[in-house]
């Protein structure tokens, strides 16, 4: 597609449920990033993939958060046993290659935990 696509755009879940958020990067983009943006804050780094390899997961807040990119294109961010503090917008970004190339962002998934 023309841009980074994220689905669903909005997700409401009850505390304790598992959720899965999907990211379709720009076709051919090697690098993929996940960020978490709490209300009124800037995005914070969660994890980074280069092709199918997860090279950095230092930003994942707990072991309830898990991300994968098995074929080096689509990525899924999974949150298990959701908590209210998980409520945020989850942004995905991709870049064509490595280094300092600008990251192209999707419109995000707004997750609300009741």
């Amino acid at each position: 597609g023309a841009g980074v696509s994220q689905s669903p755009r909005y997700k409401v879940a009850k505390r304790g449920q598992d959720v899965a958020l999907r990211c379709d990067p720009i076709s051919g983009h090697v690098s993929l990033f996940w960020y978490q943006q709490a209300l009124g804050q800037g995005p914070e780094f969660l994890t980074y993939f280069q092709n199918e390899a997860q090279l950095d997961k230092s930003g994942l807040p707990s072991d309830r958060f898990f991300a994968e990119r098995p074929e080096g294109s689509v990525s899924t961010l999974k949150i298990q046993r959701t908590q209210q503090e998980d409520s945020a917008v989850y942004l995905c970004a991709s870049t064509q290659g490595l280094g300092n190339q600008p990251q192209h962002f999707g419109d995000g998934t707004r997750l609300s935990i009741l």
């Binding site: 990033f33 780094f45 990251q103």
Partner: protein, 115 residues
């Protein structure tokens, strides 16, 4: 570790007036610098970036920013704003080496352009 400070959470300005959004950063290593804009319910769009060379960089929509190494600043400016510039603006840094290309963002500045 790197950090970014955007001191102004909100900046109101009248249409056609100039504006400056401030950004200061802290890092023990060399960084690249970016400004992104976020419209409501959308993702982030790159306005401009500083990688090397001239310290004055020009971006889209008439914005420009100046990198000042001694003051560790990267302030964003526009000589004449338009209503459509109303949005949230984020300053971000990326380590030149060893950082895995992840961005560290400030908390954002809400620019509100009024008639």
């Amino acid at each position: 570790a790197q950090s970014v400070t955007q001191l102004d959470s909100q900046v109101p300005v009248f249409e056609e007036a100039p504006v400056e959004l401030r950004c200061n950063y802290s890092s023990s290593v060399s960084v690249y610098l970016f400004w992104y804009v976020q419209y409501p319910n959308q993702g982030l769009q790159l306005l401009l970036k500083y990688l090397s060379g001239s310290t004055l960089v020009k971006g889209i929509n008439g914005f420009e920013a100046e990198f000042n190494k001694s003051q560790t600043s990267f302030h964003l400016r526009k000589p004449s704003v338009h209503i459509s510039d109303t949005a949230e603006y984020f300053c971000a840094v990326m380590r030149v080496t060893g950082g895995g290309n992840k961005l560290t963002f400030g908390t954002g500045t809400q620019l509100k352009v009024e008639l």
